[in-house]
Amino acid sequence: MEQKYFQKDIETMPVEELKKLQSEKLVKQVKHVYENVEYYRNLMDEKGVKPEDIKGIEDLHKLPFLTKADLRDAYPYGLLAKPLEECVRIQSTSGTTGRRVVAFYTQHDVDLWEECCARAIVAVGGTNKDVCQIAYGYGLFTGGPGLNGGSHRVGCLTLPMSSGNTERQIQFMTDLNATILCCTPSYAAYIGETLKEKGYKPEDIPLKAGIFGAEPWTEEMRRGIEQTLGIKAYDIYGLTETSGPGVSFECCEQTGMHINEDHFLAEIIDPDTGEVLPEGEKGELVFTSLDKEAFPLLRYRTRDICVLSRKKCSCGRTLIKMSKPMGRTDDMLIIRGVNVFPSQIETVLLNEGYQPNYQIIVDRVNNNDTFDINVEMNPEQFTDKVSEILSMEKSLADAMKTMLGINPKIHLVAPKSIVRSEGKAVRVIDKRKLV
């Protein structure tokens, strides 16, 4: 039988009931953190907030925020709320921003995380009849272990491929008839390109759905992946700080990601003032872990900019939806005084018929910002005439200028020449040393 929800009672719970549940959990969680995490207790004391001041979710705004800087200061054990004897796992971020985060899990924490991923898999139509190919990196990165656990919980036949070795990915996908692919969107696009090169048509590929996350991607990129692979492509969101993928997930409507609100309480704040914004307004996403035992972050600022909506969803879930992050408070580049989001660059590339495989290089020479974008050429665009390649670069630069307001220097490079690590491409290299 077609399974629509992994945990129907939670996923379709009436909102009032859900809020009551969140309130109960929050009161308990604040007490747990205050008693066990000295670092956060100090923050609360500084703000003059006691656990008994928090009587429900309406009091959430009284609590202090946690930021990535706090995580760095408290590294490695400063935010741990359980004795190490009770912890069974760590996961860690890639540290690409230079600040590695180490998150701890009790068995309970692992279980709830896997449950969240299972909800995401069922939401895209996954059942125990499916073969789920997990091409996220395994190891410290949360992508692989999270979806792996979720896939087990649903009862899918799980292919723990990890990322890379595309030849082998394709061999297992086609030999074992994988029906669901989980990986980063850029790796999904890459697998799609490789399949296309090998002469596979979308109808020859056994996949029916994909769950793609861990990096920003656009609607245009979604359409591209859906067409090449002949699938429905769904977004999933999460961060190591809160558990990993599965904090929120897309349903059949594909119009935003349902937040697993019974575990993660979401707020949108003004990133400058810290003030909570009403539903529907754009701002920084903040999460409070309601159930995590070992690494329970309260009011953690994600730096992701998005919008929340409780509009009724046709899938029947009552869980609030978050938009795809529209950028980050930190990866926004200011080049020659202009705000540039990598997502805008991606949109232009897709509109101009390029794959979203690019790398932005910003530097400062003689007090002026230089702005270069390396873009992978499509094989069919390659020509023996230098003038044609130069004119392709020029017209792409013009399209960028229209979107961004500033002129980048475009460099077309060979396909697949931009380095991908863990399937996650390094999009921005900012060499400016601004002291």
């Binding site: 390659f382 020509t383 023996d384 005439k385 460099h411 077309l412 060979a414 020449s417």
Partner: protein, 143 residues
């Protein structure tokens, strides 16, 4: 009649060119003629080889971006003024040229010119009518 040229995208990196010629050497492919057009960022290497099928296969396998283009090959005498005569024919016929490069044969007293034009057939007809001898892939393989 036209001959096949292999075009390879060369990144502006140290050793980029030698890795290409090395692949060809290991595949026993002999280069008859080559030209490179370069910009600050990249180069475009154009090759006439004795075995373009093998060259195409091996370079693709190694991840190079390549394109096969048909170009006109014409045999000219190895003497002053011969190139001018051939180019004069094209000019008179109103044929625009993108680029050209030349090479010598080891054994014969002849030079050869590779021409990239918009329309191969028109250029070939003009050259043949003027008495020039065009070369084919088979000729290239024998050179």
């Amino acid at each position: 009649m036209a001959i096949k040229q292999i075009t390879v995208f060369v990144e502006n990196k140290q050793g980029a060119l030698v890795s290409i010629t090395d692949i060809l050497a290991q595949s026993n492919v002999n280069i008859r003629a080559l030209s490179i057009a370069e910009t600050n960022d990249f180069g475009i290497l154009r090759l006439i080889v004795n075995d373009e099928a093998t060259a195409e296969k091996k370079l693709s396998e190694n991840g190079y971006l390549i394109k096969i283009t048909e170009v006109v090959g014409v045999k000219i005498g190895d003497a002053p003024g011969k190139l001018t005569a051939a180019l004069g024919v094209l000019d008179k016929a109103g044929i625009n040229m993108e680029y050209l490069y030349a090479f010598m044969a080891r054994t014969e007293k002849h030079a050869y010119v590779v021409l990239r034009v918009e329309d191969n057939e028109i250029a070939e007809a003009a050259l043949e009518n003027a008495g020039f001898h065009l070369i084919t892939d088979a000729d290239v393989n024998k050179l």
